[in-house]
Symmetry: D2
Subunit: 329 residues, 4 copies
């Protein structure tokens, strides 16, 4: 089959590799669409993936093409979205229910061959069947949505919170949509890029701005979410949290990034800073929400390219053009 | 009556002032003992108290000496401990149940005359009657305990957590006692002062050390509590939190103190940093716990001085000698 | 002024009474609209209100007509909605933050003169100013909404829950609207009255039915809410909760009503049954949500009658005709 | 090897069966001690176990006798306690982190051969190594303790709760010990059997009684726990919950048992009724707590019998004599 392969640091190509064969409880998915995200760039930079070469792609959906000997839950022809998370179920973190902190955490498209290929392998337990009204290609959005759901699980924000989101890329916009879905009283979105803000405006939010200074909330925000990974945004955001409020670190910074925090304020204003990492107990729920129409694929997916253009797609993503970029193998 | 008075920045004396008269729903407490704490030093430095002069003392207990016209809950002669918290019950924070973040937060001994005097005024709602087996003087420990209870309310730590506490002053030791009472699997205590650590050892903890480097917990601690307010301790502590764990800022730092935080780690390890400020819904509960004997007054109270020595007592506290220092008016 | 007065059990009339005078921290509200609810019927039956006669009406909004000597937060002419809750702030429940369980719980329109009158008194802290785009009369809906918010606070339901609501009266419909606003994956509404179900259908829900038997959810519902108070509905609802799910008792049953519960199932399926009572820390938040347009007043308010028709309005409410009935004094 | 075998309904014998052979990620445990509990009786009555014959015993500890080909975490000679829970990690409940509600829930000693035998098989992930100071036999108590930990996880009770426990058998006593460890202000224990109450008294609780009527708590209890499974106890207990309090169904009733609940009270007093089922994310934590000495084995284990007497041991357990009964294979 044809597949994108990250063969070494900075090296990505589309090439022909062996077709996958399903294990006992695995299925082969004929990939309909596979989204790109920051993780793919990290892998290209030699981070995250334990070994190279690897076929990237952890955001995908497709049609079941073959099933393993002991698979009964899905059958050939079923349309499915795939949770890429691979947990060991054995380590200390798995055993206390925090599988996303698994000591042997793996992911399809990270530690095993992913969805940027004609076919991909997945444990049957990771496959969620799609209802008729959901287009297979669109369902590749479920994975990033399931990360956003985990973010709100961590927040457990109250009804009528005032929310500020940094970043209106794919993830910031998903945070916006879920903010509405968790009963925020207001949601303000900040991005440096005026262009991207227009999508936030289109989706419906209280205010968009290039800096929170333009927004009139003297008491600050109950919930501040970083969906940029950018040090300036994070530093600014922590300082904007209202008394009793919470800052969620959702964006992925460089390892070396540091921000400054005032312990006096943490104490005196009972501020909470917390974080959310990938998917936890949230994939099926994201699929259910997706089926209700919480994300409009035409807004979220900006580019659909053939698999052969995977390297160019990654280049475009790196350049920050568009929103969610997909390859359609 | 005789009373300690902080009359200006850096100025404290014991002098004679008018006796208090109870309002409608107030009582006059004949103070048996009043503890000193960092807040009193802040007031002496011109911080915290909205106006000077003020009679300090927010940790006290005594005997009801007079009751206001509409008081029925306590009578003259009753022994009571007093919650110093004065909330407005009207502001945005009070109305959402976060009274300790009250926009008009006040405290007996901070914004009104306190317990470092022969008599002190208190709203009857702030008075908790003491059971027979609790000595009146000892009950002045309930107030700091109620802050520690708030700290654990914020933490809501799970059974079998691994806890690390910085500081074995009065508050660190209370955190230790409550750590046991919330089912910690282990509690390690760190202090620079070997002398103070011996009390932690005496109360029973897993390890004491002058630095966590001496303690073998490769994965870090599920719960790390700062009870020092010291920047080095806080910085060190944040970096010791285990994956999925929580750092509680309980100590009061200088306004200017800053510590550095890694957003990557907050995200990737789902670390939480949070804080706890004074008393919230915790005073009566602290009184109940105190009555069960959770704190041994002979261990916690190191010095009992006459009221006339209030300035010297404050001096000694500042010098970091002993644990809880009380004046007995 | 003219006011509705419940003068004895079963006796209600509109009559002329003295105008109210504001206390120090009170305001007089020129009532624009006052909604009726089950509580008013209870008062008429001699329940709930500690003494009769009383002017009923705890769901109201209006214009500030006069302010007490120490009121600075609002001024004459301001449009406000009023939280009727009167807490003592002194009892054991108030002191642990569960003011709605206050031992001396009172309410405007229950224990003091209410909003079914030309003018009503309210503590300034209970008044929430309305933004320009909210019509004063409509804002009488904020009070029932604040009860519904408390219900969801108790539930703290996760994103993507499957919700079943019994009752599509005013409260069931509010529960529906908030169900959407807390990210339910599906919301099914059950009512005996086909007519009322059509409003649920109009507001947008997954299924409406006269019995859950018509709805295909073999595993049951994660969240089941009773908004009827009816014994049959409650019994049926408890038995429909999915494994690991929660039943919320929001409807007010007769004191004598009993339902049967299987302890084996509570244990084996970790079912939770819980309840929510009136307003707690939720009024301002309901006002904020109301301002976002979460309730369409034209759907929720079915009847607007002059104050003089209060007895007839109560009669109509009792007969179960319409949805929210208001008097406009 | 010798093993107890429940071969049919009501039929139990000790016989010779084949020695077990470890799978890839399994270990063979040379059982040191295996405790008996209500579940074993249920299996004997033809309930719970999917098929008979089965070797019972889900509370056990022992020495690793053999390890599978891919086991690196433990080695022959290691002393371990074993979590009997077998989750599928694939079903809807497992995938949302509620593995104890697993649709294919299994248990060692329930759905596979258990610890009432010379040797037993266990997945290596279910084995917890014992520290030197814990006796292997005693560690069979960790399993029931891990159920009790789950109970308190569900409760998430606040510091200074007033707790009432029905039943002072093994589980009631564990609930008592964990009640202390979660900072209860008071713990009252009720049992019909005066004899058993003496152990509760010995372990240290506030009051013991044969009925709560003998205990003076006019406002009721914040937390009421049923550890009997008895309908009378449960009915009585639900009615004793204080306003705002919680009832935990921990005891296992007959399927047919029903208790009556007042929906008015659930609503008006915001009472919660909830349940806890077996082990969830709690086994390692129970092992950690056990290592701190939270349970005195000499108090908890009343009988240690040879494996050959398994049928008699089960008889004695059924008769309600003693506390935890163990067989030592
Ligand atoms: N926690 C998780 O589980 C999880 C899951 C998925 C993704 N993520 C992370 O979430 C973040 C967002 O992902 P994405 O796909 O939405 O990325 P994206 O498309 O690159 O969007 C990020 C947006 O933030 C803007 N931005 C950068 N610096 C800013 C600043 N100082 N102030 C305001 N806006 C700023 C960017 O503007 P410019 O284009 O002008 O730079 C861009 O529009 C990434 O860090 C990603 O790795 C986390
Ligand atoms: N959050 C609240 O509600 C609340 C309530 C009450 C008090 N507090 C705060 O809690 C903190 C502790 O109060 P306290 O009365 O226990 O104070 P304390 O008696 O001064 O105890 C603090 C202890 O921390 C030690 N320490 C200082 N720097 C350290 C470091 N880098 N590493 C390890 N140990 C260090 C000190 O040792 P040395 O003596 O050698 O300096 C001292 O033994 C204070 O900041 C206080 O203001 C907060
Ligand atoms: N917890 C709180 O804080 C709070 C606050 C406000 C109100 N409430 C309570 O909430 C409940 C609902 O209030 P509401 O104003 O919406 O009342 P409502 O207008 O009377 O609505 C109740 C609806 O339930 C329907 N119903 C009755 N029995 C039913 C059954 N067995 N199955 C299905 N539907 C059934 C009724 O149908 P019919 O018309 O055919 O009878 C009616 O449409 C009341 O009990 C009220 O007292 C509670
Ligand atoms: N939820 C879980 O995960 C879990 C785990 C393990 C066990 N369990 C269950 O927990 C329960 C207790 O287990 P156990 O091993 O401790 O059982 P046990 O030894 O039989 O103890 C139960 C005690 O309750 C007493 N009792 C019975 N009816 C009573 C009443 N009406 N009022 C007061 N006391 C009463 C019994 O007294 P008499 O001896 O006089 O009858 C006995 O002392 C059982 O139902 C068991 O199945 C649940
Ligand atoms: Zn793992
Ligand atoms: Zn306030
Ligand atoms: Zn009260
Ligand atoms: Zn499962």
């Amino acid at each position: 089959m044809r597949a994108a392969v990250i063969s070494g640091v900075g090296q990505v190509e589309v090439t022909t590799v062996d077709d996958p064969t399903p294990g006992r409880r695995q299925v082969v998915v004929d990939v309909a669409a596979c989204g790109l995200c920051g993780t793919d760039l990290h892998i290209l930079q030699g981070e995250f993936a334990p070994t190279l070469p690897v076929i990237p792609g952890h955001e995908f959906a497709g049609v079941v093409a073959e099933v393993g000997a002991e698979v009964t839950e899905v059958k050939v022809g079923d349309r499915v979205a795939v949770d890429p998370s691979l947990y060991c179920h054995e380590c200390r973190y798995c055993r206390v229910g925090r599988n996303n902190l698994c000591e042997r955490w793996g992911g399809i498209g990270v530690s095993t061959a992913g969805g940027a290929a004609e076919y991909a392998l997945a444990p049957v337990a990771n496959c969620v069947k799609l209802p008729d009204h959901v287009r297979t290609e669109d369902a590749a959005l479920i994975e990033p949505l399931s990360c956003a759901v985990r973010g709100y699980d961590v927040l457990r924000s109250q009804l009528a919170s005032r929310v500020l989101i940094y970043g209106s890329g794919t993830m910031g916009l998903m945070m916006l949509q879920l903010g509405k879905l968790t009963g925020a009283a207001s949601i303000d979105v900040v991005d440096l890029n005026e262009d991207r803000l227009s999508t936030a405006r289109q989706l419906g939010c209280s205010t968009v701005a290039t800096t929170p200074d333009e927004i009139d909330r003297p008491g600050g925000w109950d919930v501040v979410i970083d969906a940029t990974g950018n040090a300036h945004a994070i530093q600014d955001g922590i300082d904007r949290v209202a008394k009793g409020g919470t800052f969620l670190q959702f964006g992925v910074s460089d390892y070396a990034t540091r921000v400054q925090v005032s312990p006096y304020r943490i104490y005196n204003e009972e501020i909470t800073i917390t974080g959310s990492m990938a998917v936890l107990h949230s994939y099926e729920r994201a699929a259910d929400l997706f089926a209700t129409g919480v994300l409009d694929p035409e807004v979220f997916i900006s580019d659909r390219l053939p698999l052969e253009q995977y390297p160019a797609a990654l280049e475009q993503f790196k350049a920050g053009k568009g929103r969610k970029i997909q390859v359609l193998p």
